[in-house]
């Protein structure tokens, strides 16, 4: 049975969700637009295996981080939902 908003701390849950979302989007931005585009020239001075690091982030690394971000989000949201008593 659905609970109504008054029974659970919907406001607190939403504020925590927004905080989590913003921090994850900062990482999302940093690995793609940051490492892959804006700071690529700087990172290219370092190598990962045989690839310049900025180039590698643009073609491989950012994608791995994206996958990790979504699964971390799922994990963190489940934790938030337990904490605030939200039934997902």
């Amino acid at each position: 049975m659905s609970k109504s908003l008054s029974e659970i701390d919907g406001k607190g849950y939403w504020a925590a969700t927004i905080r989590l979302t913003i921090s994850l989007l900062v990482i999302w931005f940093a690995v793609s637009y940051g490492a892959g585009i804006l700071f690529r020239d700087f990172l290219d001075q370092i190598s990962i295996g045989g690839a310049p690091l900025g180039f590698w982030f643009a073609q491989q690394g950012s994608i791995y981080v994206f996958v990790a971000l979504i699964f971390y989000y799922c994990f963190a949201m489940n934790r938030l939902e337990r904490k605030f008593g939200v039934e997902a």
Partner: protein, 593 residues
């Protein structure tokens, strides 16, 4: 006609039909959202097939092979959008609990006008996209099976017709799962062989950063050396401006998140929680192909230069075997057999400008001053790779089946958007609100059938115009500028109202459409681009403007009714969704379990 190609194509098609018969739809719930009880991992796999089109499978690696670092926009753009979907849209739209994207727009913004504008956006985006898929089907059939292009499209349409009209979203979901398995196998097997040959490491993602086999020079360094020697730009750099790369990546990311056929896949799972996990699985399955693609691209560029550049051409009127032996005996390199196989398709051409019979492949800054004589199309790389790497014949058959799976799965997902826009958004929600579930299911099947035929005709028509590649920019730009801002604001900003949503959608649609149309079809001169942003990237710029327009208009007009504001609070917190008069009077929300 090649035995293995025919074998794989017939077997996979029989499998798709079998699944369609097994997964028939019994209600509108089945037809539009597959009964909303699809397992999140299964939905992730279906989403990956839905998303990865003929362009991802056939053209992307080739584009990256040409563009080098510049091709990164596709890799980041077409994967990063899933982070936005998972964090900003999918779980909330699932909690909202309706069938389509125009459902959300029309109910959240309590307006028939908003619903119909969303229908226009969804139809425009989907039809643009589907023309390319149908063309891909036609090319695969005509290139490999010797069947005329038109018949290729008709066969493809007939297959989609069966499972889309019988099973709706349910049939489409389970065939997409099968299609994902076919396409990922077909993509990674040749890639592993090639990685092994070029770098000695069978994992393409690792081969990409390894040394070239038998040397202590990294594969990418070797490639940089090879391409700059021929007068091309270094592989790891680009001549696009940084802002343009930024804008194109943004347009593709936000466009991905706003594409209706991707969004509706997340309506098929049982809860907001499952929608989140499902987006994660979708990206895992997509990343398998997307992290392989840049490796395939670099290997293909090396292989292409290695086998074609400075080869001695052999004409169609000569005996290939005898002439090749003669050239080799004289210490030369004959044109490879794969080149001769593909030459008739026009995907690769040779124009002997200096008349020496040798194929010079050169870039714009060629150091020896020779002009370029060899022009490969982007599609040739994935298609001819198995032959270039001298892989067995069955691998080639597999690649054809994979390309068809990629095109058909995406076409089916788009057809669901088109048919539900007609039967659900226009008929049931706008014109005939009293329509029974049974009648709507009948109309939905009819609409799906009509949409298949329309898409097929569009594929035939578009192939004559050859404009498919150009208009793909429309789909992403329009989805980013017209749909993304109002869906996002509709969830994250309660104060967003009807007037703001309509203004924002109309602005996004008109501005992006005009810019792309002008700079693609009227005056293609890049010097006129605003802030140096190409038509591919402009959706990203207008998306921000459309959002600001929506916010400003909302602030100067009346706040949305209390019912709507309560609805927004509900969809933010999973498990609290209840019906709200004004927002849900036309259609009750689906339950979440």
């Amino acid at each position: 006609m090649d035995f293995w190609t025919l074998f794989f194509v017939v077997t996979t098609f029989a499998l798709y039909i079998g699944i369609a018969i097994w997964a028939r739809a019994g209600s509108t719930d089945d037809f539009y959202v597959a009964g909303h009880d699809v397992h999140p991992t299964v939905n992730g796999m279906a989403t990956a097939a839905d998303w990865m089109s003929a362009a991802s499978f056939l053209s992307m690696a080739g584009l990256i092979a040409f563009l080098g670092y510049g091709g990164s926009v596709y890799l980041m753009g077409w994967t990063g959008g899933y982070v936005l979907l998972a964090l900003l849209l999918a779980p909330f739209l699932r909690e909202f609990g309706k069938f389509t994207v125009p459902d959300f727009v029309g109910d959240r913004y309590y307006s028939t006008a908003a619903r119909l504008i969303a229908v226009i956006c969804a139809l425009f985006v989907s039809f643009t996209y589907i023309a390319g898929q149908m063309k891909g089907v036609g090319v695969a059939f005509s290139g490999f099976l010797g069947i005329p292009f038109e018949w290729g499209i008709i066969i493809g349409m007939a297959i989609v017709f069966v499972y889309a009209t019988l099973g709706g979203m349910k049939g489409v979901t389970y065939t997409q799962v099968a299609q994902y398995c076919v396409l990922i196998f077909a993509y990674t097997v040749p890639a592993m062989f090639m990685s092994m040959i070029i770098t000695g490491n069978p994992v393409p993602q690792l081969g990409f950063i390894s040394n070239a086999a038998g040397t202590d020079v990294s594969m990418l360094e070797k490639l940089n050396g090879v391409v700059t020697d021929l007068g091309f730009l270094e592989y790891t750099s680009t001549n696009k401006t940084m802002f343009d790369v930024f804008a194109i990546t943004g347009a593709l990311m936000f466009g991905t998140a706003g594409l209706p056929h991707v969004i509706i896949r997340f309506f098929t799972v049982s809860s907001a929680k499952n929608a989140r996990v499902s987006a994660g699985w979708a990206l895992v399955f997509i990343a398998l192909l997307y992290t392989t693609a840049p490796a395939v691209a670099s290997f293909a560029r090396l292989n292409f230069i290695d086998t074609v550049n400075e080869a001695t051409y052999i004409g169609d009127d000569e005996d290939y075997a005898a002439r090749a032996a003669e050239i080799e005996a004289a210490g030369g390199k004959p044109v490879p057999t794969w080149y001769k196989d593909w030459e008739p398709t026009g995907l690769v051409t040779f124009n002997d400008l200096n008349g020496d019979g040798i194929m010079q492949y050169r870039g714009p800054n060629s150091p020896d001053g020779l002009p370029n004589e060899v022009t490969p199309s982007a599609d040739i790389f994935v298609l001819a790779n198995p032959q270039i790497a001298q892989l067995p014949a069955w691998v080639i058959g597999l690649v054809v089946a994979g390309g068809l799976a990629a095109a058909l799965s995406t076409a089916a997902g788009l057809l669901m958007v088109i048919s539900s826009a007609v039967s659900h958004d226009i008929c049931r929600r706008t014109l005939y609100p009293e329509m029974s579930d049974k009648t709507e299911l009948l109309v939905a099947r009819g609409a799906a059938a009509g949409a298949v035929v329309a898409a097929g005709l569009l594929g035939l028509f578009a192939s004559n115009l050859g404009f498919v590649a150009q208009v793909v920019a429309f789909a992403f730009g329009l989805a980013a500028a017209s749909l993304f801002p109002i869906i996002f604001l509709g969830i994250f900003w309660k104060r967003m109202n009807k007037e703001g949503a309509i203004a924002s959608m109309v602005f996004g649609l008109v501005s992006t459409f005009s810019y792309i149309y002008y700079f693609k079809f009227v005056d293609a001169d890049p010097s006129g681009w605003w802030f140096g942003v190409s038509p591919e990237g402009i959706g990203f710029v207008f998306m921000w403007v459309a959002a600001i327009v929506g916010i400003v208009v909302s602030l100067v007009t009346e706040a949305p009714p209390q019912d709507i504001q309560d609805l927004v609070e509900d969809i933010r917190v999973p498990g609290t969704r209840t019906a709200h008069g004004k927002a849900d009077e036309g259609m009750a929300p689906m339950p979440a379990e």
